[in-house]
C-alpha cells in the first residue's frame, strides 16, 4: 500500500465551506470572507485551505494572525495538514517574536525555500508581503486600517473569523467617522463584507456548543447555525445551561457574590461527563482542569483566584480569567458572570462581543451568574441595537437554564 500524496491528503468534501472558499480563491476572487460561529472549525478551515493551495499551486502564501501565539498555533496546524514534504520546511515563521514550532523555518532561514509564511498582522502592516494569497486568521480581531495596510501587496485575500468575538482595541476617538458604514477602526471583515467584490461564506455548524446554546447565541450572528457536537451531558446536571441569580450587591466583585461563583464552579468538579459517539458511550469525572470561570473584570478574577486558594481538592487548577483572556479557549464546564452584575453600565460591561465570548466557552455545560438588574442596565445602554441582542441572549439563557437563587445575607 502506498502512502497518500499531498493532493490526496488535502482533498475537500463536497458542499463544505472549505470547498466554497477554495473555489473562490482558484477562481480569482479578490476578497473572500468566511464567518464562523464559536467552535465552527475556523482554524481547521485555514490550515486545510493553505495545505490545499500549497499542494496544488506554486503560489506564494502568507498567513497573518492577530497575535504571536495564534501564529505559532496555526503554523503547527498547517504543518500537520501538509504532512511529509520534500523541502527543508513547508512553513516558515516570519515574525521575530513568534515561537517557531519544531520542523518549521524561522525568520533566520532565508525565504528562498518555497514555504507558507506565517506572520502577525502588525508585521504585515509594517512591511506588507507581496503574496498571491494572504489569509487572515481570527480576522475579527484586526481593524480595517491594519488589514488595508497589511494586505496592500496581496493579490487575493481570505479572511476568516468569528463575528461574535471581541474586536481589536481602538484607543483613538473615532467620532469623526461614526456616520460612515465603512471606517478605518471597524473590524476588517465587517468592512470587507460590504464590498461588492466580496464573497461571504457562513460556516453552518458549531462542533463545540450544544443545540440549546447554539440557539441562544443566534441573535449575535446573522445566520442560522446548527450544533454538530457529539452528545455530551453531565449526569448530575441535566441540560446545557443552569442559571444562578444573585442578590444585587454594591460592587461587581463583592466577596459574597464571588464566593457563590466559586461554589458554582466547584459543583462541577467530580460531576460525571457522559459522551455518546458512534463508537459507543464513554464517561469520566470532571477534574478542576475541565472547569473555567469567565468574568469581565480583573478585580473579579483576582478575588476568585484568592477564594479558590482556600478550597481543597486542587481548586486552584480551575481556570479563571476575563473574557478577553479566555477568548479562544474551551472547557467542559464554564461559570460565566454577567458583565452587568451589580448594575455596571460601562461600555465594557454592555458590549455583546464580551457576552458572546463568555457564553460560548463551554463544551458541555454553562452556569450563567447574574442579578436581576441586567434588564434595567441594558434599557439604558447607548447602543440600543446591540443591547437588544444582549437582552435576547440573556432571555434565552434564562429560558433554557434551570434557575437557582442565592439568598441575600
Amino acid at each position: 500500500m502506498t502512502a497518500a500524496t499531498i493532493e490526496e491528503r488535502t482533498a475537500v468534501e463536497a458542499g463544505s465551506p472549505l470547498a466554497a472558499a477554495l473555489y473562490e480563491l482558484y477562481s480569482g476572487a479578490p476578497v473572500t470572507v468566511v464567518a464562523a460561529p464559536p467552535g465552527g472549525g475556523k482554524s481547521d478551515l485555514v490550515a486545510r485551505a493553505v495545505a490545499h493551495l500549497f499542494a496544488h499551486t506554486d503560489a506564494t502564501i502568507t498567513v497573518a494572525t492577530a497575535t504571536n501565539e495564534q501564529g505559532t498555533a496555526i503554523a503547527e496546524r498547517i504543518m500537520a495538514e501538509i504532512g511529509a514534504h520534500e523541502g527543508p520546511f513547508a512553513v516558515r515563521v516570519a515574525s521575530g517574536k513568534m515561537r517557531v514550532p519544531e520542523g518549521a523555518g524561522s525568520p533566520k532561514d532565508k525565504a528562498k525555500v518555497r514555504a507558507v509564511q506565517v506572520r502577525t498582522a502588525a508585521s504585515c502592516k509594517a512591511s506588507p508581503p507581496a503574496t498571491d494569497f494572504l489569509i487572515f486568521d481570527e480576522a475579527y480581531q484586526i481593524t480595517f486600517a491594519d488589514f488595508a495596510d497589511g494586505a496592500d501587496r496581496a493579490a487575493q485575500v481570505l479572511v476568516v473569523g468569528d463575528p461574535g468575538q471581541i474586536g481589536p482595541v481602538v484607543t483613538v476617538d473615532t467620532t469623526a467617522w461614526a456616520h460612515l458604514r465603512q471606517a478605518p477602526h471597524m473590524r476588517a471583515p465587517d468592512v470587507l463584507s460590504q464590498r461588492e467584490d466580496a464573497t461571504i461564506i457562513n460556516m453552518p455548524a458549531t462542533y463545540r456548543l450544544g443545540p440549546v446554546t447554539a440557539g441562544v447565541l443566534h441573535p449575535l450572528y446573522g445566520w442560522e447555525f446548527e450544533s454538530r457536537r457529539p452528545q455530551r451531558a453531565l449526569a448530575q446536571m441535566p441540560g446545557e445551561v443552569r442559571t444562578l441569580e444573585l442578590p444585587v450587591r454594591e460592587t461587581p466583585f463583592d466577596l459574597v457574590s464571588m464566593t457563590a461563583v466559586v461554589d458554582a464552579a466547584l459543583d462541577y468538579v467530580g460531576a460525571t461527563l457522559r459522551v455518546q459517539t458512534s463508537g459507543g458511550s464513554r464517561s469520566r469525572d470532571l477534574t478542576p482542569a475541565d472547569v473555567a470561570i469567565v468574568v469581565s473584570r480583573r478585580a473579579q478574577a483576582s478575588a476568585i483566584e484568592a477564594l479558590l486558594l482556600e478550597r481543597a481538592g486542587g481548586a486552584e487548577d480551575i481556570t479563571v480569567g476575563t473574557a478577553d483572556k479566555l477568548q479562544g479557549g474551551q472547557w467542559h464546564a464554564v461559570v460565566a458572570v454577567d458583565p452587568t452584575l451589580a448594575g455596571a453600565e460601562s461600555e465594557h460591561a454592555l458590549a455583546s462581543g464580551r457576552l458572546c465570548v463568555m457564553t460560548s466557552r463551554h463544551m458541555t455545560h454553562l452556569t450563567w451568574v447574574y442579578d436581576d438588574r441586567w434588564a434595567a442596565v441594558l434599557a439604558g445602554a447607548p447602543d440600543a441595537e446591540d443591547a437588544a441582542r444582549g437582552a435576547a441572549v440573556r432571555e434565552g439563557l434564562l429560558a433554557a437554564g434551570e434557575l437557582r437563587r442565592v439568598g441575600a445575607c
Binding site: A126, D173, R297, A299, D383
Partner: protein, 449 residues
C-alpha cells in the same frame, strides 16, 4: 454668497447658528478589545479596558478634587505633571510658529494674530485663512474648548455650503476633526486643556476659564481686555516642563501624518489618518503613564503599580503588588524613574501573579536582558535588590510601545483595498483542482454580492 477672504465678513460668525452642537454628536462606537496573554507588546495592549469601570472613575475624581483642594490651600496652581501641558513641536530648522485664534468680544467674530510673522495685528479669520495657517505649519492656539468647537462647527457648516470655498472648508473640517480628537494636539492647542494637564487649579476656580487661570498665576496681572497677551502668557505656562523625547517625537510625527492625510477625502486618506492618530494616541498614553508627577493618579487607575520587593534571585524578583493594577502576565514592564536614571532602562516581564489568603497579590518578575555583553546580574534585579535593602517602594508600568507608522512615500501601488469600491478579479493562474470543482456545490451556504 459667502466669501472667505479676509476683507469680507467673517463666514464663521454667520455659520455658527444652524449647525448641530458638537455635544450632540454620538459617542464613539464601543469597540472592545482582545487581550490574550502572554505575548509581547502589541498595539492592542496599550490600553486595558475600564476594568473597575465607574468605581475607578469615582476614585479618580476624588483624587483630582483632593489635589485641587491642595492647590486652593497653596493659593496658586500646583504642578501636576513633570512633562509640559502641551507637547512641543519637533523641528530641525525653524520652530513651528504659533497663531493665536480667539473670538473678538466686541464683534463676536473669530480673529487671529500670528506670533512673529506678519500680520502681527489681529485679523479676521476666514476658512481660506485658516487653511493657509494649517498649510504653512502654524500651530493654532485657542483659549478654550468653546473656541475650538466654534472653529470646528464653522468649518463643518462652510463645508456643507454651496460656495466656492466648500472644498477648502471640507479639508479644514477634516483636519480640525483629527486635531480636536487627539488627547494632546500639537496643531490645535486648547489652552485650558493644556493647563489642566500641567497644573492643578484651585478647587474654587473654573478650570475651563482662561481668565481664571491667568488670575491664579498672577492676581496682579490685568489681561482681561488683552486676549493675545493673556493667551501668550498662558501658553508659556502650559509649555513649561520636562520633555520625554521618544513619546513626544511619536506624538508629533503621528499627528503630522494624520493631519497631512486628512487633506484628502476618501477611505485611503481615512486609513492613513487613523494610523497616524493611533500612533499619536499611543504616545499620549505613554506620556501620561510614565510621567513621574502622575504616579499618584495612575496608582488609582492601576496604570502604575507600586511594588514592595520581598525577594530577589539571579534572574528575577518577587514583590507584593498594589491594587488595582492593569499589568499583564507575559508582558514587559519598566520602573518609573527620571530620564538618565539606570532604573529607567531596566525591563522585566511579569511572569505570574499569585493571590494570598489575606488578599495580597504577589508578582513574580523576570529580568529582560537584550544587550550582548549583559552584566551578570541584570539591571532590573540590581534595582529590585537595592529597593529591598533600603525598604523603598518601586513604581512600575507597562513598557512603552509605539506602533510603527508605515511610510507611504510615493508608493503608487499603496491603497489596493482603499482606492476604490472594488478590486478587479485576479486572472486565475492555476487550474481549478478537480476535487474543488466537484466539491463546490449549491449545498454550500454562501452569499454572492
Amino acid at each position: 454668497m459667502h466669501r472667505s477672504d479676509l476683507t469680507e465678513p467673517d463666514p464663521f460668525a454667520e455659520y455658527v447658528g444652524p449647525v448641530v452642537d458638537a455635544a450632540s454628536i454620538p459617542a464613539p462606537t464601543p469597540v472592545a478589545e482582545h487581550i490574550p496573554e502572554p505575548r509581547p507588546p502589541a498595539p492592542a495592549d496599550i490600553v486595558w479596558a475600564d476594568d473597575l469601570g465607574e468605581h475607578t472613575d469615582a476614585a479618580q475624581a476624588e483624587y483630582d478634587l483632593l489635589r485641587r483642594v491642595e492647590a486652593q490651600v497653596a493659593g496658586e496652581p500646583v504642578r501636576r505633571t513633570r512633562t509640559p501641558g502641551t507637547p512641543p513641536a519637533i523641528s530641525e530648522g525653524e520652530p513651528m510658529p504659533f497663531a493665536f485664534v480667539w473670538v473678538d468680544a466686541g464683534s463676536g467674530r473669530v480673529i487671529y494674530r500670528k506670533e512673529h510673522s506678519e500680520p502681527t495685528t489681529p485679523r479676521r479669520l476666514g476658512v481660506l485663512g485658516l487653511r493657509e495657517l494649517i498649510d504653512n505649519g502654524f500651530r493654532l492656539v485657542v483659549p478654550d474648548q468653546y473656541t475650538a468647537k466654534r472653529l470646528s462647527r464653522a468649518a463643518a457648516a462652510a463645508a456643507a455650503g454651496d460656495t466656492p470655498e466648500a472644498a477648502d472648508a471640507a479639508r479644514v473640517d477634516r483636519q480640525l476633526a483629527v486635531a480636536s480628537r487627539l488627547s494632546y494636539s500639537i496643531s490645535l492647542v486648547v489652552l485650558t486643556e493644556a493647563l489642566q494637564r500641567a497644573y492643578w487649579l484651585s478647587a474654587d476656580l473654573d478650570a475651563d476659564d482662561p481668565l481664571a487661570w491667568s488670575r491664579a498665576f498672577d492676581p496682579r496681572l490685568r489681561l482681561a481686555g488683552r486676549p493675545y497677551q493673556l493667551m501668550h502668557s498662558l501658553l508659556e505656562a502650559a509649555s513649561q516642563g520636562q520633555e520625554r523625547t521618544d513619546a513626544t517625537t511619536a506624538m508629533f510625527y503621528g499627528e503630522l501624518a494624520a493631519i497631512a492625510a486628512a487633506r484628502h477625502p476618501g477611505q485611503r486618506a481615512r486609513v492613513a489618518a487613523f494610523q497616524g492618530m493611533n500612533r499619536a494616541e499611543n504616545a499620549a498614553k505613554v506620556w501620561d503613564t510614565t510621567d513621574l508627577g502622575l504616579i499618584g493618579r495612575n496608582l488609582v487607575t492601576g496604570d502604575v503599580c507600586a511594588i514592595e520587593v520581598s525577594d530577589t534571585s539571579g534572574r528575577g524578583f518577587t514583590a507584593t503588588m498594589s491594587q488595582p493594577f492593569k499589568l499583564r502576565t507575559g508582558h514587559r514592564h519598566v520602573f518609573l524613574a527620571p530620564p538618565g536614571d539606570p532604573a529607567a532602562e531596566a525591563a522585566f516581564v511579569l511572569m505570574g501573579v499569585r493571590a494570598t489568603t489575606s488578599g495580597d497579590l504577589i508578582g513574580q518578575f523576570e529580568a529582560v536582558t537584550t544587550r550582548r555583553n549583559a552584566p551578570a546580574v541584570p539591571p532590573a534585579v540590581t534595582v529590585a535588590a537595592d529597593a529591598m535593602a533600603n525598604g523603598r517602594t518601586l513604581h512600575i508600568t507597562e513598557e512603552p510601545y509605539l506602533p510603527f507608522l508605515r511610510s507611504r512615500g510615493d508608493d503608487e501601488e499603496a491603497g489596493r483595498w482603499t482606492r476604490g469600491r472594488t478590486v478587479d478579479r485576479v486572472r486565475p493562474r492555476w487550474g481549478m483542482p478537480a476535487d474543488v470543482k466537484v466539491a463546490h456545490t449549491t449545498r454550500t451556504r454562501k452569499e454572492h454580492r
